[in-house]
């Protein structure tokens, strides 16, 4: 390691016991992005689940709003080392969205407006582990944080919680999404510190 910069503190952060290895607690909500923020009017929004055989199930914003909603409180962990505890969200569980979907696939590719993708095994999206969330901290989710809606998969590093989510593609084989293809880990478990390929 290089030199220590005398008197340098950096952004407010705390090392707190109980966080996954290598993480700091932050009190703000950093915005990290791979491209321009998509602006999606609600009348253009759709969420589509496509099975491995090409069958589709799709919801408009109104149809999505009519589904059973859940309010959840979760901890989130970004691969860039910041964590936020006790964040509150409202959204629709993937269990609800997948309830009438007939599939034998084990893997998914999550798609977003603007072209972002990330891969998540199907079993990591079900049984109460994931939501399509549209409210954060009591307010509608802002575009820079992924609004109108983002995927929320808090048990994996937060790059898997795809912003501006618009669909799920079920796949028989695991394939890398945007950051996975660029060097990040295929699975991304913060508790095993799976940040990069080969970790």
């Amino acid at each position: 390691m290089g030199i220590i910069s005398r008197g340098f503190g950096g952004r407010r952060r705390e090392s707190v016991p109980g966080l996954p290895p290598g993480q700091y607690l932050t009190h703000d909500f950093p915005v990290l992005s791979a491209g321009p923020t998509p602006r999606i009017p609600l009348d253009r929004w759709r969420f589509t689940v496509t099975t491995e055989t090409g069958d589709r199930t799709s919801w408009s914003w109104q149809e999505f709003q009519a589904l059973p909603q859940e309010d959840v409180t979760v901890d989130i962990h970004c691969v860039t080392k910041w964590s936020k505890l006790g964040t509150t969200w409202r959204g629709v569980s993937l269990d609800t969205l997948l309830s009438d979907v007939d599939t034998a696939a084990d893997y998914t590719m999550v798609h977003s407006f603007g072209g972002y993708t990330t891969n998540v095994p199907l079993e990591d999206l079900i049984d109460g582990k994931a939501w399509v969330a549209w409210r954060f901290d009591g307010e509608d989710l802002e575009p820079e944080h992924g609004g109108p809606a983002r995927l929320l998969v808090p048990h994996l590093y937060f790059w898997k919680s795809a912003k501006w989510v618009n669909g799920l593609q079920l796949m028989n084989e695991d394939e890398p999404g945007f950051w996975e293809a660029a060097g990040y880990h295929m699975y991304g478990d913060p508790w095993r510190e799976q940040r990069y390929q080969g970790d």
């Binding site: 915005v31 990290l32 992005s33 791979a34 491209g35 321009p36 970004c78 691969v79 860039t80 790059w159 950051w179 293809a181 660029a182 060097g183 990040y184 940040r195 990069y196 390929q197 080969g198």
Partner: protein, 87 residues
Amino acid sequence: MNQLDGNAMAGDLREVFAVDVTAARFLCAGCGHAGAVATLRLWGPAPGQVARCPHCEDVVLRVVHAPDRIFLDVRGAVRLELPLADS
């Protein structure tokens, strides 16, 4: 947030290449636009640097820093043309 350009990647790219690459010309795999790497529109640096074509916004280069490795993904560039002498 004010967006940077490929000039800001000079240091990262210099860790991969032995010469400066910001003066290199890229050919975008998406639209065929050619230009200096320095003119790519840059998002990042976390979780990685994403350099997009100023013409079509497709991703041309991605750089991810791990503690002991650097990943450079160039699939968005059909080719890079690097000058050999000071131009």
